[in-house]
């Protein structure tokens, strides 16, 4: 049987991404259905992540599936030394799909190799987080009407920010122009700049974050600059306020510009920005629900046509 797991979407072709975006749009129109009635979705969170887990569980519940799982690895047999393989094998005999978060990199890929039921990677360490990428793509598509030829500005921690790396890779076929705005210590790693060069992706690096430098952005993707990422705390003190978005910086920005943030935010977007028409981070989180409904259906072999012709919609 073909393994329909979603471990990464970085190598997805355009038509597949469009297919999932179209499916997410269907779920946005009608989020509540009984399409997955009789199915069991397991959410195995070997590493706690309340936000992602609630989003997946809501998606499963709104489609009529039953949800089993755990949110704290301390309460499971993995804390007794059970291998990941054994846990996955055991749960595979109960559930139709496994959504998993793990602190180790490559855990989701390995899990997908030891079971016949599909795995959805809900984050494996600092490696991949495809459902976040999917909701980012959906948010960009929804607000801009296209993924093509956009100016995407990434701000803050570009070194450790898993979401910006995944987004960068998944945008490769859409002719974006990236602007990487980060302090020296947290700039975009060489391997991703090399990836851009190899794939003909245009990018500009800068350290200044001002009203002028973001005037041409279609998407302003903010990330959190975390204190613990700095080896030099004096450097942190110097830059910590330099990458904070304030409402008075939005005067020159484009009409269509939207601000995204994977959340949680701490202080990198001031609260007065929330009232701006450009603020989109809360809607972005809501889009996560529709994107995840699409991902769960896709791995279970439910097609876009079936979603469109679904007679189980609850109005």
């Amino acid at each position: 049987m073909e393994n329909r797991s979603i471990v990464s979407i970085a190598d997805y072709r355009k038509d597949k991404i469009q297919y999932l975006l179209d499916m997410a749009r269907e779920f946005e129109t009608h989020p509540n259905r009984e399409l997955l009635k009789g199915k069991v979705v397991a959410t195995l969170f070997f590493e706690p992540s309340t936000r992602t887990r609630l989003s997946f569980e809501t998606a499963a519940n709104r489609l009529g599936a039953k949800v089993i799982g755990f949110s704290d690895p301390k309460a499971t047999s993995s804390s007794k030394g059970e291998t990941l393989k054994d846990t996955i094998k055991m749960v595979s005999s109960y559930a139709d799909v496994i959504v998993m978060r793990h602190k180790l990199e490559g855990a989701a890929l390995y899990a997908s190799e030891v079971t016949n039921i599909p795995i959805i990677n809900a984050g494996d360490g600092s490696n991949l987080h495809p459902s976040q990428t999917m909701l980012d793509l959906y948010s960009i598509y929804k607000t801009q009407g296209t993924l093509e030829n956009l100016n995407i500005y990434m701000v803050g921690d570009l070194k450790y920010g898993r979401t910006v790396h995944s987004l960068l890779m998944s945008m490769r076929t859409y002719n974006p122009t990236f602007h990487f705005i980060a302090p020296k210590e947290l700039e975009m790693p060489e391997e991703y700049k090399l990836y851009c060069k190899q794939n003909g992706i245009k990018y500009i690096e800068q350290q200044d974050f001002t009203e002028e430098t973001i005037a041409d952005a279609d998407i302003l993707y903010m990330t959190r600059v975390q204190r613990e990422r700095f080896t030099d705390l004096m450097e942190y003190e110097r830059v910590k306020d330099a990458y904070v978005l304030k409402a008075n910086m939005l005067g020159k920005c484009k009409e269509n510009m939207k601000i995204l943030h994977p959340l949680p935010r701490v202080n990198e977007i001031e609260y007065d920005v929330d009232d701006s028409k450009h603020a989109y981070y809360f809607e972005q989180a809501q889009n996560g629900l529709y994107a995840r409904e699409a991902l769960i259906c896709d791995v279970l072999g439910i097609t876009l046509d079936e979603v469109r012709n679904d007679r189980t919609i609850i109005k």
């Binding site: 291998t83 990941l84 393989k85 793990h102 602190k103 180790l104 990199e105 490559g106 855990a107 890929l109 390995y110 494996d124 360490g125 600092s126 490696n127 391997e191």
Partner: protein, 151 residues
Amino acid sequence: MEQNKEHMMVAALESGSVIDHIPTDKLFTIAQLLELENFKEEVVIANNLDSQIMTRKGLIKIAGKFFSEAEINKLAVVCPNIRLTVIKDYQVVEKRQVTLPDTLTNIVKCANPVCITNNEPMKTVFYRMDTQTLKCRYCGKEQKLKDIKLK
């Protein structure tokens, strides 16, 4: 004269394998890797021999030993350009340049401590990106051949 001697050493082998063109600084790494101390049959280890290709080289001759593909792949990781000669009944039956294969299964240890392969009883898989670089199938981290540790 040196070459004649070497030729004699190889030719004198009835059946077994000769690993040639070993960089002189890698000879003892290879000897250790092959656990030569456990072999009961004749083993010849030579170093700093004259070489037309590499000025100086090392050479190991092992009677009665025929390498499996997995063992050859291991050698390829440590020394990508060695030459392997297989001898049976005093005849050279195979002579090949050992090259790094496209995929290495369960030979290399991932250098990333938070890679799943270092925390689960499982096989590692590495892909060759270029002559000097391998990439872990699981965590995706690239590693330089010179820094590689074997499993």
